[in-house]
Symmetry: C2
Subunit: 387 residues, 2 copies
């Protein structure tokens, strides 16, 4: 196990009706807040009304930044910073999934930065101070409600970049599983795939002696497998929604990666797909994952894939380890198909002409992956196989 | 899943050599500290020297309270409070295992309480303010390094009582697995049994829909089973020590019990044993656990024990569920025996004459246990079976 410094200070208020804590928690930081959210869904399902009524009743002044994109754009971040500066905002409250929360985080960090906000996305060392951030989660997927990261897209430069800073972690997040009851079938599926991908990015590491972390990763994968499809078929199944929601937070808050070497691989590849094509993040991850697995499967990785097959997919441990590994990869693909996610990039509109450019961008900071790092040739090969 | 409020703010500095962070972390709170520790082991193995050299080099003044008992006594707590008051201590630093940390926590809480410290142990509502607490862990067992609880014994009244307050949680803890290399064989075993018991107290709950938490509990149990005996046989096996150390913290910091009904059962029984006989806590837990399991095994609990057997002990899922449950209980006993812990209370000096009194004390606040609560008759029956 590698050395690590653990710090997960976000308070979580979990469960039905927990929105009631919001006014008192906000008042610990001030009385002027910016609401950051996406489309009109929170108005249709009553969440917006729940929240703003509580704010009004408690004399909390709020401004609004709506229309945050599924892949939030730097132009939207800039708008939010302007509202915060003009109104001396005390706290940025995201309502939504990862898009809104990521956007809120970078607004909060940009507030204190004198230059253009894109500078801090490209170089987190330029962040010195961050406004308090909090979130009300309405989609189980990115885990942004309990981590330090945000991902912002610049459509001018076709860049989608992740930025992290310890002070960007939400001070608190409200997780009410009933707030995800209205999440559409396809988004429930994509969210589940995103959670599973976060877990696998931590699980398939070169660090071999983090037994505890690996068993916990398997625990979370089994949770996603048990409830992903169920939540699609029974959108108001509280047990399914609650387990997926809590899994989304624990998958990426550090618990699974502390003590392990970490170098993500499928995420950087997918970031290029959605930077160029604006496809759904979780769908891109689910399509790429099994091709990536097949590509890196060899004598140096087969034991890990066999472990994955035995412990996650209950494959008979007495079989040949390559058979177990290949069956595990097949089962991973089948599960994503069960979530009604296609198996090919061409099915989501991706064409051959930009594959080389996207592959180059994927590895612009160096090789990606921990268990078996890959470079340009590897990424391009995976893209072509997946097409 | 039940509603919950999650907050685990303790910072963890984990790994070999992490003691180097100590002076800078202490200085965030002040420059006058009280060291709280047990016997002379930290002087023999060099940990005391490591720490005090760092303090002196950084002009941090320290006072010392040594001789904290394995079951820390209220008389020792009172001594610590007196030292803190006389010297305007800024932070209480425990060096050791649960005994020292528990003692430090109650000293820190008692510092601001005007009456006698035993009052706050008996009624945590009397705690209003707590001095900052931190720890350097030298024994993987109680998880006190990352939770809000302390257990204090009053030998005058034969009471051993747990007290918890959110502000009693350590601000930070240093977990260097090499600091546990010199832990004797028997204490390594008892510590592992203690960790396993914490996990099982959370696992065997009446809440059935906390799938995620149950899979994580199994992950931690498998970690203990994989490394407990190994750490006894190879005391300087870093991988084993590291996995056990991190398991000790995660077992009881709330992660496994958030969202579940919680009412501990084997711990309150064991607390009476060690209040009356001063036996090793982990040994008492390990002896009692399988007898408690057998006692509550019936149609209402058999599914949970079968799940335990299949997921933790790899028992063939196609067998009859009572056979799986009984085999799982046997395997639990066999594992504790493998840790060289006896199977009978009489083997650790416990006599029949006080069983009734201890059983009455175990349930003085009401029935104990969550999966299937038990009262006086149940506890007495378990004690007699275990004798």
């Amino acid at each position: 196990m590698l050395n690590f410094d653990y710090s997960i200070p976000t308070k979580i208020f979990f469960g039905k009706g927990k929105i009631g804590v919001l006014p008192a928690e906000i008042k610990k930081y001030g009385s002027k807040i910016l609401l950051v959210y996406g489309g009109g869904s929170i108005k249709r399902n009553g969440i917006y009304e729940d929240i703003t009524k509580g704010l009004k009743d408690n004399s909390i002044d709020f401004w609004e930044l709506s229309g945050v994109e599924p892949n939030p754009r730097i132009t939207t971040v800039r708008k939010g910073i302007e509202i915060c500066r003009k109104n001396n905002i005390d706290l940025v409250l995201a309502i939504g999934g990862g898009s809104s929360i990521d956007c809120a985080k970078v607004i909060a960090a940009g507030y204190y930065y004198e230059g253009d906000a894109w500078d801090i996305v490209k170089d987190a060392r330029k962040i010195s101070k961050v406004l308090p951030v909090a979130s009300v989660l309405t989609l189980a997927a990115t885990g942004s409600e309990m981590d330090i990261f945000g991902v912002i897209t610049n459509m001018d430069t076709n860049e989608k970049i992740g930025v992290g800073h310890p002070d960007m972690i939400p001070r608190f997040s409200v997780l009410d599983p009933t707030y995800t009851f209205t999440v559409p079938r396809s988004q429930t599926a994509a969210g589940t795939a995103d959670i599973m991908s976060h877990i696998m990015e931590a699980y398939f590491s070169s660090t071999k002696e983090a037994f505890l972390q690996d068993r916990m990763a398997e625990a979370l994968l089994k949770t996603c497998i048990n409830y992903g499809r169920k939540a699609m078929d029974e959108p108001e199944n509280y047990e399914a929604r609650a387990n997926l929601m809590w899994a989304s937070s624990l998958a990426i808050n550090g618990l699974l990666s502390y003590g392990k070497h970490r170098n993500w691989v499928v995420h950087p590849m997918e970031h290029e797909l959605s930077a160029y094509y604006d496809i759904t993040h979780g769908v891109g991850l689910a399509i790429l994952t099994p091709y990536w697995m097949k590509y890196i499967l060899d004598d140096s990785t087969v034991d890990k894939f066999a472990e994955f097959g035995i412990n996650v997919w209950n494959i008979d441990a007495s079989k040949d380890k390559y058979d177990i590994a290949n069956a595990a990869i097949d089962k991973t693909r089948e599960y994503f198909n069960l979530l009604e996610i296609p198996s090919k990039l061409s099915e989501v509109g991706i064409k051959e002409d930009k594959l080389e450019e996207m592959a180059r961008q994927s590895v612009r900071k160096g090789n990606i992956g921990s268990l078996k790092p890959i470079g340009y040739e590897g990424v391009l090969n995976i893209f072509k196989e997946a097409l």
